[in-house]
């Protein structure tokens, strides 16, 4: 019997062949925290280390300040000090408020195919697009991983998502992953891995693959793996990391718990309606819903190709007067390039506001908080009640193209109308 990608990566990390269901303790190649999880992780590390802070390898431990970046509260400024002090004391790598979302910076600078990555944030699964077993955990798990360089894993069952056919004009990876989450359900992949394969995946660019992997946690999955191929290699080369590349792919005879076949050519622009991500509908079912705020950004859709689509739709036009458009590039690197390419200028000219490279309004505590009864169309990953800071508000999730079309019209709009 062949092995899934998850089994292959964990077998290599463990040093012997393992199969689904086994519990293993493995070395981690990267462990990171951010300002949401880090202060508690530091407390746990102190508790485990009898007051001492210790990191297993200062090159493989990274601290990010990305949620409240820059700080919006005295209390948070003080927790940021805790993180800076920890990085200073241990030599861990520090990415301060200017750098962007931890998941974006991790894929740009650190995560490698075949790695085991433990990140104290649920969207750590983004790194699966590079063929890494990159998974989110809590502060204690990651605090221990930072100290010991190890974590425990259950080798997961895997769901194979086999995607064939061409995505139609106006339909993107975001629509595809929302469609897939609609099929699997919010808990359908609990404790499992998802592997994305098939001709459509083989030809997707890395930004699109990151969007797919980023959202697997919304179906409960611990990781969303994409085979590491030439596109992966080219991406790493562009990042100055071509020597980090290696091939990772599933065996042809791998044993999957379930196989889901998706014909990408049949997918339309897709929306998650309030208040769960698996409340998925074709956009036409919510066409015309009035919107107050549009957010483009987050670890899901704040990358260069996302800003390119948005700026190309907005170019030379004005957003609807009833709309607040907030755009937050996912990282400093993305922002710099978006400035160089002129995307930021087009977005500003059309009436958009640029937020610092960070998690931005996605988590409901730092800008872009919705008013009572207000509606937001967002490119982020979650639409839970209260997610954007107000339980009396409504969040619809869609692609960056849908976001731009919606910003122009003032209501949820099919991007094919403006492309």
């Amino acid at each position: 019997m062949g092995k899934t990608m998850a089994e292959k990566i964990i077998s290599e990390a463990f040093g012997q062949n393992v199969t689904k269901g086994e519990i293993v303790v493995v070395d981690v190649d990267l462990a990171f925290v951010n300002d949401a999880s880090g202060p508690l992780a530091v407390e746990k590390m102190k508790a485990a280390g009898n007051g001492q802070l210790k990191v297993f390898d200062k090159e493989k431990v990274v601290v990010f300040i990305d949620h409240a970046a820059p700080s919006c509260h005295r209390e948070l400024s003080n927790t940021h000090k805790v993180l800076r002090n920890m990085a200073n004391a241990t030599g861990a790598k520090m990415h301060d408020i200017d750098q962007g979302v931890c998941h974006q910076v991790a894929i740009e600078k650190y995560t490698k195919p075949g790695d085991i990555v433990a990140g104290a944030d649920s969207h750590t699964c983004t790194g699966g697009a590079l063929g890494a077993f990159s998974t989110g955990m809590g502060a204690t798990d990651v605090g221990i991983a930072i100290m010991l360089g190890q974590t425990w894993l259950r080798v997961p069952d895997s769901i194979k998502v086999n995607v064939t056919g061409q995505l139609q004009k106006g339909v993107y990876a975001k629509d595809l992953i929302l469609h897939i989450i609609g099929i699997i359900g919010a808990d359908g992949a609990n404790y499992k891995a998802i592997e994305f394969v098939g001709e459509t995946i083989d030809s997707l660019d890395m930004d699109s693959r990151f969007t797919l992997s980023n959202m697997v946690v919304e179906a409960g999955a611990k990781v969303g793996l994409v085979p590491s191929d030439k596109i992966t290699k080219d991406y790493l080369k562009k990042q100055g990391r071509e020597f980090d590349w290696k091939e990772v792919k599933p065996d042809p005879e791998a044993d999957y718990e379930t196989v889901i076949n998706v014909d990408a050519s049949l997918i339309e622009p897709t929306i998650s309606m309030p208040h769960t991500v698996d409340n998925v509908k074709p956009l036409k079912d919510c066409n015309g819903v009035k919107v107050n705020q549009v957010f483009v950004g987050s670890c899901t859709n704040g990358r260069l190709s996302d800003l390119k689509i948005v700026s190309s739709i907005l170019k030379g036009k004005q957003i609807n007067k009833s709309i607040r458009l907030i755009v937050s590039p996912a990282s400093k690197e993305v922002m710099e390039e978006a400035i160089n390419q002129g995307y930021i200028t087009e977005i500003i000219k059309s009436g958009g506001t640029i937020f610092s490279p960070s998690c931005g309004p996605c988590f409901g505590a730092h800008g872009g908080i919705l008013g009572d009864e207000e509606v937001c169309l967002s490119t982020q990953n979650r639409n839970f009640k209260g997610r954007m800071g107000n339980p009396e508000a409504f969040i619809y999730l869609g692609s960056p193209a849908t976001a731009a079309a919606t910003a122009l019209a003032g209501e949820i709009t099919d991007p094919r109308e403006v492309l």
Binding site: I23, W152, N190
Partner: protein, 165 residues
Amino acid sequence: MIIKGKTWKFGDNISTDFIVPGRYFHLRSNLPELTKHVLEDADPNFAKNVKPGDIVVGGKNFGIGSSREQAPTIIKMSGTSAVVAKNFARIFFRNAINIGLPIVICDTDSIESGDELQIDLTEGVVHNLTKNMKIPTQPLPDVMVKILKDGGLIEHVKKHDGFAL
């Protein structure tokens, strides 16, 4: 181990945003203050009225969402003795065990708010004393039992000088 208490019943998909609303982000390092808002967006009366020993009961996929370990932490700090649900989101599940909050998996459809439960973790049964019903539980994985028995992950690695799973 026996846990006995009165239940607070919640629905499916109780998210970490329900348990620790994002608007209290600045309180994440002030756990006693944050505990005053536990589960606020699912039931605003819970934090004010929960009594030591009470049991939180959910439906499907309890703890869906973020990795914030404050979620099980402030449920535990509220005095809640256990969380019972049909299934749990993965990260919440690990976090709860790591910090020593007992987690029980069983069918919760017949349980209503205010029911008195007696949970026998060793025997794997939830006895609904109010309805005189016995509900079998799904056993926790051995690895989780080991961590729980040591008093959570921190105590586990201190006791064994690393992982001993």
